[in-house]
């Protein structure tokens, strides 16, 4: 199994994402934003960081990178894509996921271990969890407040598109405590918290994050 990790100018967590892929038992493949080459990967991860310095809007310029056109095309035909933090922002800007991420409600950068509830355990990236399961992974963002117009939020909730929700405190004012959402087909998932930072006892608050990276292996086998 080959899982690509895209590096944009300003990506920070691409190495950690690749490490999580390796710990999950797959082969990480480094991808470069300016190429038009997905290198025959089976799935793609968009890592955290500050692509293009968050200029214009977080993720806005990265969403128009050459390789993202290939990602959008492949995602629409079912390739699993996971966006973490800045990667989530890129997926929303690229139109693969609904809603938008904006400046935290309290206007401060927030960095802490965060409890989450898995709302959907039937996406390509969350198969290895139970619906309703509580996990703890780091969250670290300045523009992580999930927003959409109230009518759009109702539709997102009604369609079961909320994949992960903040519990025991909302770190950034995200509407309806939404931490992550999924595409209608469950193949594209984006979330602000960082599962790739919670894959080893030595460095993370838990190993709860590993499930995202093991889940997709089974999703690709069954696909």
């Amino acid at each position: 199994m080959r899982i690509g990790v895209i590096t944009f100018p300003g990506s920070l967590d691409d190495v950690d994402a690749a490490r999580a892929v390796r710990l999950a038992g797959a082969e990480p493949v480094a991808l470069w934003h300016a190429d038009h080459d997905l290198k025959d990967v089976d799935a793609v991860i968009l890592p955290g960081g500050f692509s293009y310095g968050d200029y214009l809007r977080a993720g806005a310029i990265a969403a128009r990178a050459p390789l993202m056109q290939d990602v959008v095309d492949r995602a629409r035909s079912g390739m699993p894509v996971l966006g973490i933090c800045n990667g989530f922002q890129v997926l929303c800007e690229a139109g693969l996921l609904p809603g938008a991420l904006t400046r935290n409600g309290h206007l401060h950068f927030r960095n802490r271990d965060q409890a989450l509830r898995i709302e959907r355990a039937d996406t390509a990236w969350t198969h290895d969890y139970e619906a309703g399961q509580r996990i703890v992974v780091p969250v670290k963002n300045g523009e992580g407040r999930y927003v959409a117009a109230p009518a759009d939020l109702d539709r997102i909730e009604g369609e079961g598109r909320v994949a992960v929700r903040y519990v025991e405190g909302n770190p950034n004012g995200s509407m309806r405590d939404i931490a992550g959402v999924t595409s209608a087909d469950g193949r594209v998932v984006g979330l602000m918290p960082h599962p790739e930072h919670a894959v080893e006892d030595l460095t993370g608050p838990s190993t709860d994050g590993l499930g995202f990276f093991t889940s997709v292996l089974k999703a690709m086998v069954s696909a």
């Binding site: 214009l56 929303c92 938008a100 409600g105 927003v147 117009a149 759009d152």
Partner: protein, 116 residues
Amino acid sequence: MWPRRGRVGDGTGQRGSVGSLTRAARSGVRHPGTLDRVPRVVVDVVLKPEISDPQGQAVLGALGRLGHDGVRSVRQGKHFVLEVEGTPDRAELQQIAETLLANPVIEDVELHLPTD
């Protein structure tokens, strides 16, 4: 501290020259001392009314602390000035505004062409 940006081509980098560049840009002149008029298009990007604006609220709070109690609301947005070749194409500019300058999920755009 981030390094200061914006020491543009004229090599002066003085505060005064920034002001004169701004005045030159306002009058549609590409560089000081030339008469090369370039059409300017202004795109204002504002948050949709139903999207809350914590940055605007922080500005409003600061105004209150400064004694400006008469300001009831502040909404913060972005202001783009585009210099374009030839006659501005409204349809193309609208597309530029809606596909890159603004995120239509949360923002509205206002286009101001020289002919407006």
